[in-house]
Every structure is written in structure tokens, then in C-alpha cells.
């Protein structure tokens, strides 16, 4: 009975104890967990753990370890150095290439608990401290600016002996940047960073790790201000851009300069402007034609300073379908004539001819030049007898029986061009004057050497063919002189028909013998004289010709009026105005502004 009672009493006490324990919440400690063991220099190491529940009682934690190959169990030598819940193994307790089997035991009054064992080889748990003394310096080497970052290995790590070999990595980012830029530096303790943004503040950090181990924490941040500098890349790029743009600009300017004229010419072809020397357009506009005539050749005498007078050719068409109308200075008129005139040889009658025709015709009418020849020349095409001529030779024909004063005919495709008289005294234009006192038909065109102008002089004897050839002036016969001149500026293209005749000789009978002259012949046959200017008109109605010698002609021609006082080129034809008045031609070789003499004066009967 006693034994049974004692057992019951024990059970009751046990239950009471359990009840007390349960009611107070006190339990044995929870299982602690060893988090990690790390060695900063492969000489010592520290292990940390996380305690489990304390069980409501004061719990004591102890770390125990066994070294590989030893059955002996040791307790942690140092709980303080590594901080709370840690164990520090100093050098004497640390061996490398041995496996530590580490456990943590939590113990309180109610019991104890043991953690999972952790197997540690110090060689594999090395995690060094951060690198130290990090410096970032901005320097320039060979004109290449860069940031040189230097650091020292952690003090504790023995790298000098070779016991530890560390690798380094640094990272850098702008102060306002978000992404770090990492650079692996290997075993070096410095690193150069290129191509940083000028003026930016950079953050630099470095960490390290052993050859076989863990990366350290990142070091303290080092700030570095990148100064403003011109990056080489930028410099070269800007230089390239500058050179290129300059080259392009030059090319553009050159192209524009070259193309400008072409474009201008292409878009705005130059308008042919009438270039009649000595012909003042303003004067024509302001004054009537008579004034102009007066101004040019006032009172039958050409002013000395007005040395040029141009009378363009008249166009005579023997076809009935087209009538030559007097061109009254109208541009369109002239154009009509030109268009209707389909001769290829006469590509341009010239505007100057328009004016000149107007001038001529106007003067013809105003001065009562009702000579049949004048009229008929223009109008009576059918009656006009065209003297056929060989190509290359300009022939002047005259048929007085038909009351036609044919000046000069150029038969082209059934059209006859009648060339009016023009006397030109352009110094460059070699002037030829032909004086015929005989009843001969003479023609002396002279071509200017430089082709600027040429003058065709025709001497037409109207009526005195049958009369004596001795002295036309005394016999009352009059020679009619026609000069035909075309200036190249008027675009009169004489082409082939406009060959020239040079004076071969003057025979005793005052017959001027002319022969066709070509450029070749003239150039080859230099022995022959070429008379270009009127030197004088002597009493015998002989026109003295002389070679053009430039300015000398000026004086010669100026003497002309005096010399020709007593005789004249007279319109002797009965149908024309007959007169004994002096037709004097004063020619000035003054070049500018006029080079022509209005030969219409010759058409004007002198009374």
C-alpha cells in the first residue's frame, strides 16, 4: 500500500510540475541556427548564429566544434570578439584545410537544443575586408585625360607574403546616375578610367576577393570631381565637322559662282540690242526723224563728230506674194520682214536696219525724193531687173530704162535684196569709196579685216553710159553713188554672196576696174592695193582712194569737202534730181560714237 501511495504521490507532483510549467509558458530553448563563418584573412575566422526561442527562460548558447580527424569536442574560445551570438577563432585555434564541424547548443533550465552542424573549411570561407585608402585622381597622360583610382588591400589580409591573393573590382557612377559601371581590375591595385563626362561628380567604390572566396563589402565611397576638359574625341569630331563644313561651303560658293553665269545666261539669254554706232536711240525717241537726220548730217554735211551713219539694206522680193513695206521704225515690221524673208542667207536684217530703213525711207519721202528709182526699187519688184551674178561676186546692176534704181541685188530664192547706201567711216572698217565718172558700173565692197563691218560701195551710173567718159561733172552727168554698209552688230549676215571687190586699177578712162576679192586672194595677193578710204575727190569726179591708215584718214577725209567743192556726186539722172550742187562727203574717222555716215544725204538732191 505504501508503495502504491508513493507512486501516486510522485505522479501528482509530476502533473503539478507539468501544469506549472505549461501554465507559465516556459519551454526548452528553440533550435539555434548557425548562419555563417567567415575568415577575413585565412588566419582567423568567426562564426555567427541565430538563437531559437528561449523557451521563456534564460538560455545559454554555446558553440562547439570538432576538427576533422579529431574526435575531441571543443567549445568556442572567444564569444566576445565577434559580437553577440558569435564565436571568434583566433590564429591558434584556426587551421586551414581542415574541416570544422561546428554546432551551437542552446540550454535553459528546461532543457537544451542543438543546431544543425556546419562543416567549415577556413580555406573556403575567406571574405576579406574592404580595400582601404581609395584615391581617385584626375590626370592627363599624353593628352589623354583619365581618372586614376588607387587603393590598398585590407590591412588584415597578408598579401605581401603571398598567403592571400586578392582580386579587385571597382565601380563608378555619376552622382546623379543610377547604374554603376563595374571594372574588373584583377590583381592590380590601381585602375584608369577613360571617357568620363567633364564636369561631373563621380562616385568610386572598390571591393576585393581572394582567389577562392567571397567578395568583400564595397569600400567607402570616394567622390571625385571631373574638371571641364575638351575630350579628344570631341575635339577631333569638331575639327572634322569644321573642316568638312568649310570645304562644303567653299564648294558651294564655287559652284554658285560658276553656275551663276550659266544659269543667268540660260534663263535670261541676252537680248540682242541694236548696236549702231552713232545712233542715239534716245534722240530717236525724243525727236522726230528729221531732227535726227539733221543732227546726224545737218544741212547736207555730216558733222565732224558724227562719223557714223548706217543705212541698212532694203529687201526686195520679186515675188508678188510679199510686198516690201517701208519699215517705219516698227520693230514688228522688221520682224515681219524678217520672217517673211525666208532666205537662209539673210538670217538677220538687224534692228538697226529697221531704224535705218526708216531713216532712209523717211528721208526719201520727206525730201521729196520721188525719184522713180527710189520708189520703184521698193515697190516695183516685177519691173526690177535682177542682174544675175555668180556666187561669190556681188554685182551691182542698174537698169535705168525701167526707171529703177537698183542699188544692189542679192538674189536668193527669188528675192532680191536691195542694199541701200551706206558710207562708213569707221576707222576699223576699211572704207572704200568708189567714184565712177564713167558710165560704168562699179562696185567696191570692202570688208573690214576684223569683220566688224564692211562697206559696199556702189557707184551707179544712171544715165550717162552713152555720154562721154571724160568729165562727168562738166558734161552734166551725175554719178549716183550708193554705199551699202552693214555692220555686223546688226547681225546682217552677208555670207557667201557678200564677197568683195577690190580695185584692180583705174585706167586712164577713169574706169575703175574691180575684181572679186576673197579673203584668200586678198591675203595672198598682197601686191594689189586695196582702197579703203576716200582720200579726195578731185575735180574730175575722180574719187581718190587711199589705204586706210587709221587716224590719218581723219584728216584726209576732212579735207574732202574742200576738195570736192566744185564737183559732186550728183544725181544726174534726169529722173532723179539733177543738180550741180556740191555733194560733199565729209567723213570723220573718229571712231566713237559714230562710225558711219548717213549716205542718205547722197540720195538727197542738192540744190
Amino acid at each position: 500500500m505504501k508503495e502504491v501511495f508513493s507512486i501516486k504521490l510522485f505522479l501528482c507532483k509530476l502533473l503539478i510540475l507539468l501544469h506549472i510549467l505549461m501554465s507559465s509558458g516556459q519551454t526548452p530553448p528553440g533550435r539555434p541556427v548557425i548562419t555563417e563563418c567567415r575568415s577575413p584573412e585565412k588566419e582567423t575566422f568567426t562564426c555567427w548564429w541565430v538563437p531559437g526561442s528561449s523557451g521563456g527562460l534564460t538560455t545559454k548558447y554555446s558553440l562547439h566544434y570538432k576538427i576533422d580527424g579529431s574526435q575531441e569536442n571543443y567549445e568556442c574560445p572567444d564569444y566576445k570578439t565577434g559580437g553577440q551570438n558569435s564565436c571568434y577563432f583566433n590564429k591558434s585555434y584556426t587551421s586551414v584545410w581542415n574541416t570544422y564541424t561546428i554546432t551551437v547548443i542552446a540550454t535553459n533550465n528546461l532543457g537544451s537544443n542543438i543546431s544543425e552542424p556546419l562543416y567549415v573549411d577556413v580555406a573556403y570561407i575567406v571574405q576579406p575586408h574592404q580595400p582601404e585608402n581609395i584615391t581617385a585622381e584626375f590626370t592627363t597622360l599624353d593628352q589623354k585625360p583619365y581618372l586614376m583610382v588607387k587603393w590598398d588591400p585590407p590591412k588584415k589580409a597578408d598579401t605581401k607574403s603571398g598567403w592571400m591573393t586578392l582580386q579587385y573590382e571597382l565601380r563608378i557612377k555619376p552622382e546623379k546616375g543610377l547604374i554603376w559601371e563595374n571594372h574588373f581590375a584583377g590583381n592590380q591595385k590601381q585602375f584608369n578610367i577613360y571617357s568620363l563626362i567633364p564636369g561631373e561628380v563621380y562616385l568610386v567604390e572598390v571591393h576585393c576577393k581572394p582567389d577562392h572566396g567571397y567578395w568583400s563589402e564595397w569600400s567607402h565611397t570616394t567622390y571625385v570631381q571631373i574638371p571641364h576638359y575638351m575630350r579628344v574625341r570631341d575635339t577631333s569630331i569638331w575639327m572634322m565637322i569644321g573642316i568638312l563644313s568649310g570645304f562644303i561651303c567653299l564648294l558651294l560658293i564655287w559652284t554658285i559662282a560658276v553656275k551663276c553665269n550659266r544659269m543667268k545666261k540660260y534663263l535670261l539669254p541676252p537680248v540682242p540690242v541694236p548696236k549702231i554706232k552713232g545712233f542715239d536711240i534716245q534722240q530717236l525717241k525724243n525727236k522726230n526723224s528729221e531732227d535726227l537726220i539733221l543732227a546726224l548730217g545737218g544741212h547736207g554735211f555730216f558733222p565732224t563728230n558724227s562719223t557714223e551713219l548706217l543705212i541698212e539694206f532694203l529687201e526686195v522680193d520679186d515675188s508678188n506674194e510679199w510686198k516690201i513695206m517701208p519699215c517705219m521704225g516698227d520693230y514688228n515690221c522688221q520682224e515681219e520682214q524678217r520672217n517673211a524673208f525666208k532666205s537662209q542667207n539673210d538670217k538677220d536684217s538687224g534692228r538697226g536696219s529697221c531704224d535705218s530703213n526708216t531713216l532712209l525711207l523717211g528721208k526719201c519721202s520727206e525730201n521729196k525724193f520721188h525719184h522713180n528709182g527710189c520708189e520703184n526699187t521698193v515697190k516695183d519688184h516685177g519691173k526690177q531687173e535682177i542682174n544675175p551674178r555668180a556666187e561669190g561676186t556681188q554685182t551691182l546692176s542698174f537698169n535705168n530704162t525701167e526707171d529703177v534704181t537698183l542699188l544692189d541685188t542679192d538674189t536668193i530664192k527669188g528675192k532680191t535684196n536691195t542694199w541701200p547706201l551706206v558710207y562708213s567711216a569707221v576707222n576699223k572698217a576699211q572704207t572704200s569709196q568708189l567714184l565712177s565718172s564713167d558710165n560704168k558700173l562699179l562696185e567696191t565692197p570692202v570688208k573690214n579685216l576684223n569683220s566688224e563691218s564692211y562697206l559696199i560701195t556702189h557707184m551707179v551710173d544712171q544715165t550717162e553710159k552713152q555720154k562721154g567718159s571724160g568729165d562727168p561733172a562738166s558734161s552734166g552727168t551725175a554719178d549716183q553713188c550708193y554705199w551699202v554698209s552693214t555692220d555686223e552688230a546688226t547681225h546682217l549676215t552677208s555670207s557667201k554672196p557678200m564677197e568683195y571687190v577690190e580695185v584692180e586699177k583705174v585706167n586712164q578712162q577713169n574706169i575703175l576696174i574691180v575684181k572679186p576679192k576673197s579673203e584668200h586672194s586678198s591675203s595672198i595677193d598682197s601686191s594689189r592695193q586695196e582702197y579703203t578710204k576716200v582720200s579726195a575727190v578731185v575735180n574730175d569726179n575722180v574719187l581718190v582712194l587711199m589705204k586706210d591708215k587709221g587716224a590719218q584718214c581723219n584728216h584726209d577725209h576732212r579735207e574732202l569737202p574742200n576738195l570736192s567743192d566744185s564737183h559732186s556726186l550728183q544725181w544726174q539722172d534726169g529722173k532723179l534730181v539733177t543738180g550741180s550742187s556740191v555733194l560733199a562727203v565729209q567723213v570723220s574717222t573718229n571712231l566713237a560714237p559714230s562710225g558711219y555716215v548717213d549716205t542718205s544725204a547722197f540720195l538727197q538732191p542738192m540744190h
Binding site: K160, G162, T165
Partner: protein
């Protein structure tokens, strides 16, 4: 350290100058050879670590069993290699080189066994393990020859020559206590690989220490 170096016989001091043997100069510096050796040893340890990780990633349940077998049972434990910094630094270059050479030669046969085992290993990563084992075997052989050359350069007289008896014998295959089933093969593979990993770490550490000593003229080198 410095005392160790200076107290050594003159012919042990690794000179950066080209070494000249009997009648012929060697153009290759010892420092360069050690540098090459350090690269190979580094590779050996990295490969063995990678292979151990491959195994452990698929072998966690058996890890405890493996770890219960202490690495002190490795066949190279008999070499009595140093176990801390002080011991290592007390070793001479010759001793260190000899230690390295012994370790490497002790692993010749076991690594061939590991290559063979890797082909039939019941492990999902056996392909990766196979080529790693093959490379480990090859590189270990190369490094062993290189260390021999360095030893010959340092002491052409053959003073360093060690008896082949010092080479740790390997019993071969899983021990009798491990059984011969697949699991035992796997555990034995892991055990051997773990042993080699530790030894490769020793080798790498010793070679790098030697390299650092050889380039003592340049303090920035290590």
C-alpha cells in the same frame, strides 16, 4: 618571411635572372614558370570547386553521409601538409615545391579513376562532371611536370629529389566499408572529389606563395 628567404642557401633564392645550367642557359625565368603554374593551379581548384557544386546541387540528402566521412581519411593526409599560415611560411621554396609535387603525383591515379567513374555516375550532371574530371586529370599532370621543371631549374643537382615512396598511395575504388552499390560509388566519388578540392586549394596556395616569393623584387606583384 624575409628571414626565411635570406637564410636559405644561395642556390635556393629564386632569381629573376635567367637560370643557367651546365653549359646551357635557360631563357625562361622561374617567375614566368611559377606564374604559369599558378594559373594552372588556380584552374584546378576552380574546376574542382565547380564539380563539387555540381554534385552537391543534386546530392543534398547524401551530403550528410558524405560529410560524416572525414576528409582526414583522404589518401593524401599522410603527407602532413601544413595547416596554417605560420606553418606554410616556414616552409622553404623547395619544401613547398616538393609538397606541391607530391600532392600532384598522389592524385594521378585517383583522378583517372574519377574520370572513369564520371562516365557511369548515376547523376544528372555527369556529363559536366566528366569533362571537368578529364580536364582536372590532364591539368594535374601538366602541373606536375611543370613543378618538376621548376625544381630542376632551382636545383639541377637533384637535391630536391624525393622518394616515390612519399607519394601517398591510393587504395583505389570505394573502400570495403562503402559497399559497391551505386550509392556507394556516388559517395565515394564525392569523397574523392572533396579531397582533391582541398588538396588543389593547398597546391594553389603554395604555388602562389612561391610566385610571390619569386617576384619579391617587385612588391607590387602580390
Amino acid at each position: 618571411m624575409t628571414m626565411l628567404v635570406t637564410s636559405m642557401p644561395p642556390h635556393w633564392v629564386i632569381s629573376p635572372q635567367p637560370l643557367c645550367g651546365a653549359g646551357s642557359c635557360q631563357p625562361i625565368l622561374v617567375t614566368d614558370l611559377l606564374d604559369r603554374a599558378a594559373k594552372v593551379s588556380h584552374r584546378l581548384h576552380a574546376l574542382s570547386t565547380a564539380a563539387s557544386n555540381d554534385l552537391n546541387n543534386h546530392f543534398a540528402p547524401a551530403l550528410k553521409l558524405v560529410m560524416m566521412r572525414p576528409l582526414s581519411l583522404c589518401h593524401t593526409s599522410s603527407l602532413n601538409t601544413p595547416e596554417d599560415k605560420e606553418q606554410v611560411l616556414q616552409l622553404s621554396q623547395e619544401d613547398l615545391l616538393t609538397m606541391v609535387a607530391l600532392l600532384l603525383k598522389s592524385w594521378g591515379t585517383p583522378l583517372l579513376y574519377l574520370v572513369k567513374e564520371a562516365q557511369e555516375l548515376p547523376h544528372p550532371a555527369n556529363d559536366a562532371l566528366l569533362w571537368k574530371m578529364a580536364e582536372l586529370s590532364q591539368q594535374t599532370e601538366n602541373l606536375a611536370r611543370g613543378i618538376d621543371k621548376i625544381l630542376n631549374k632551382l636545383d639541377p643537382t637533384g637535391f630536391h629529389s624525393f622518394s616515390t615512396d612519399l607519394i601517398s598511395p591510393w587504395s583505389g575504388g570505394p573502400g570495403l566499408e562503402m559497399g559497391s552499390d551505386k550509392k556507394s560509388h556516388l559517395l565515394n566519388f564525392h569523397f574523392l572529389l572533396s579531397c582533391f578540392r582541398r588538396d588543389s586549394n593547398k597546391i594553389d596556395s603554395f604555388v602562389k606563395l612561391l610566385r610571390c616569393r619569386a617576384t619579391k623584387m617587385n612588391p607590387e606583384s602580390c
